[in-house]
């Protein structure tokens, strides 16, 4: 933690960055919250412990934060993967952000560029590789799985916390907000909820970097990350592609190669 604060102070004092997006004390001893440190003398607000789980990369694409100037971001492995994925999607350029990487065991990492982040995240397993909940869902019959999701989606109040907390939901206009034509129902009824969650999961298929922010944010506890985790597995098995591991990848679901192994598309 002292290392992190010292580094943040140094970056701010030297003017290398204008803001450090990090974690600070939250409402109570169980919670941490995002803090935006803009002066070196405020760097002591930064904390880093087990409470600090929100994916802070979500703030990097927000206009209010962009307006502050160059940021540094405190990044655990999921946030590091986010930065790579944002770079792959041309939302971040090399040098746009200083990464204050925190290893899985809480140490400050020296990650000067995307290459260094790539090397580090390659060593960190994804949750979807071993999540027992996925195995439980896969073992269900399709009827059981349908019943499971119908029940889960019946709790959805369409607050869009899943969307707002997701660092890869950065579209300036979401499909659910397009009403001419209305592609998907905006109302929080059964069909509207189903359409929303299917659309969200599909748009994140192979883009989700598996931080779990969506399910952590959901006020009614819907395990939304299971949808994107399952799709991450599918994209891995069909296209041998995993999101968030490279700053320079062509997205499997929106790129075409003349030598594609499938022939229906030619």
């Amino acid at each position: 933690m002292e290392e992190l604060r010292a580094k943040a102070k140094e970056l701010l004092a030297a003017g290398t960055v204008k803001v450090v997006v990090g974690y600070g004390e939250g409402s109570d001893k169980y919670r941490a919250r995002a803090v935006f440190v803009r002066k070196a003398e405020q760097a002591d607000k930064l904390i880093c412990d087990a409470r600090c789980q929100q994916n802070l990369a979500v703030y990097l694409t927000r206009s209010e934060v962009k307006a502050m100037g160059k940021p540094a971001v405190v990044a655990r492995p999921p946030a590091m993967r986010t930065l790579l994925q944002l770079a792959a999607e041309r939302q971040l350029a090399p040098g746009d952000v200083v990464v204050l990487g925190i290893s899985a065991d809480g140490k400050l990492l020296d990650l000067p560029d995307f290459k260094a982040i790539e090397s580090y995240v390659a060593t960190v397993p994804m949750d979807w590789e071993s999540n027992p909940e996925l195995a439980r869902l896969e073992a269900m019959s399709s009827e059981e799985r349908w019943a499971y999701w119908k029940e889960q989606f019946s709790h959805c109040i369409k607050c869009y916390a899943c969307r707002s907390s997701c660092p890869l939901c950065y579209c300036s206009r979401c499909t659910v907000e397009c009403n001419q034509p209305q592609w998907i129902f905006a109302a929080p009824h059964t069909l509207g909820n189903l359409e929303w969650h299917v659309m969200r999961a599909m748009h994140l298929a192979g883009r989700c970097i598996d931080c779990g922010s969506c399910s952590d944010a959901c006020p009614v506890g819907i395990p939304l990350n299971l949808l994107t985790q399952m799709l991450a597995r599918e994209v891995k098995s069909d296209f041998d592609q995993v999101a968030g591991l490279s700053a320079d990848s062509e997205y499997a679901l929106s790129s075409f190669k003349p030598d594609d192994k499938e022939d229906f598309i030619r």
């Binding site: 869009y160 916390a161 707002s164 109302a187 922010s213 006020p219």
Partner: protein, 338 residues
């Protein structure tokens, strides 16, 4: 003077049976995948009044998250519009915290402001509130700062307070409450002397709401305060949707060439699209602008126009916020701001 009785501990289950037998649907706090929410219960075993608060407020009983208003059909050049006819189900909201109970009058002040909203009114008339005084509170609770208290009976028809012995003090607040008691007269014994205050958690008032309300109009242009507070807000509508007092809604038409349905759905000022004009201009351009609206609406415009603070201090918004926006903390800092 309000009539008080004693309801024996063992009689609570029977009371629920009698209420259901009286033709009411009973909605009560109940466990749902680790969350406690108001849902229909069949027996006392389904009820969980242990939690300080349910995740969602009981407002959906009178203001559903999505409801039909009208149906319409197109034939040649004619449009046929049919009001959505419905009968509100007689409902008892059981185990409602005093803060939530107070919120119904606040919602009603919106839905009966000029035109009486028939959908809301029918549901409200069909609803009886059996309140349950708080036995504990946490650091997010601030009812006493906004005019409530952990033993407040004002929003309940019948109010129950757990006594040390496990029995309940029953305060009959309204005629609706009396009707519930009349379904089970034999279960309600005479009340002796009870010091109710002793049974309630102590929740000291954290700020002077009159001072806040008086101060806010001059704070509208203090953009730096609003922007700073809202910096970590991610712009979802969790706070508005878990709030028992938030009444904003969106109208959605779901239609084909043959006809359609007009729906009313919960909406939230936290969303950028909430005030987006057709021209593309957005008068609430930043999250700070939207956060200011949330505070101003609840603590300035609402009391100014409708005579109520649109917050009962339940603390749900802060407990549920994925970004740890803490309403109480922000209100205190607004009161203290120079």
């Amino acid at each position: 003077m309000m009539e008080t009785r004693i309801l024996k501990k063992q009689a609570l289950g029977t009371l629920l049976e009698r209420i259901r037998g009286g033709g009411f649907r009973v909605l009560a706090p109940s466990k749902n995948d680790g969350h406690v929410v108001f849902k229909e219960v069949a027996t006392l075993a389904d009820v969980d009044c242990e939690a300080i608060q349910t995740t969602l407020s009981p407002k959906a009983a009178v203001f559903p998250r999505c409801e039909e208003l009208v149906n319409y059909t197109f034939t040649a050049k004619n449009v046929r519009i049919e009001d959505h006819e419905f009968q509100a189900t007689p409902t008892v909201l059981f185990g409602v915290r005093p803060c939530d109970a107070r919120s119904l009058a606040i919602l009603n002040s919106v839905f009966a402001w000029d035109v009486k909203d028939v959908f809301f009114q029918k549901r409200l008339e069909a609803t009886t509130v059996i309140g349950m005084s708080c036995t504990k509170a946490d650091d997010y609770c601030f009812c006493t700062s906004v005019g409530g208290s952990p033993g407040d009976t004002s929003g309940s028809d019948l109010s129950l307070t757990l006594l040390g012995c496990g029995d309940y003090l029953a305060e009959i607040v309204t005629e609706k409450g009396r009707r519930i008691v009349s379904l089970a007269e034999d279960l309600f014994g005479p009340a002796g002397k009870v010091n109710k205050e002793e049974l309630l958690p102590k929740i000291p008032a954290k700020f002077d709401v009159k001072e806040l309300t008086g101060k806010l109009p001059d704070m509208f242009t203090r953009n730096e305060i609003w922007a700073e507070q809202a910096m970590r807000c991610i712009g979802c509508s969790t706070c508005a949707f878990v709030c028992p007092c938030c009444a904003c809604f969106d109208i959605q038409d779901e239609a084909s060439r043959q006809g359609g349905t007009r729906l009313r759905c919960w909406d939230s000022c936290g969303h950028g699209q909430f005030t987006l004009h057709a021209s593309g201009h957005n008068p609430r351009h930043s999250q700070g602008d939207r956060w200011r609206q949330r505070i101003m609406h609840k603590f300035s415009y609402f009391p100014d126009r409708l005579g109520y603070i649109a917050c009962v201090g339940c603390g749900r918004c802060s407990r549920s916020c994925p970004a740890d926006m803490n309403l109480l903390e922000h209100l205190e800092s607004l009161v203290e701001a120079k």
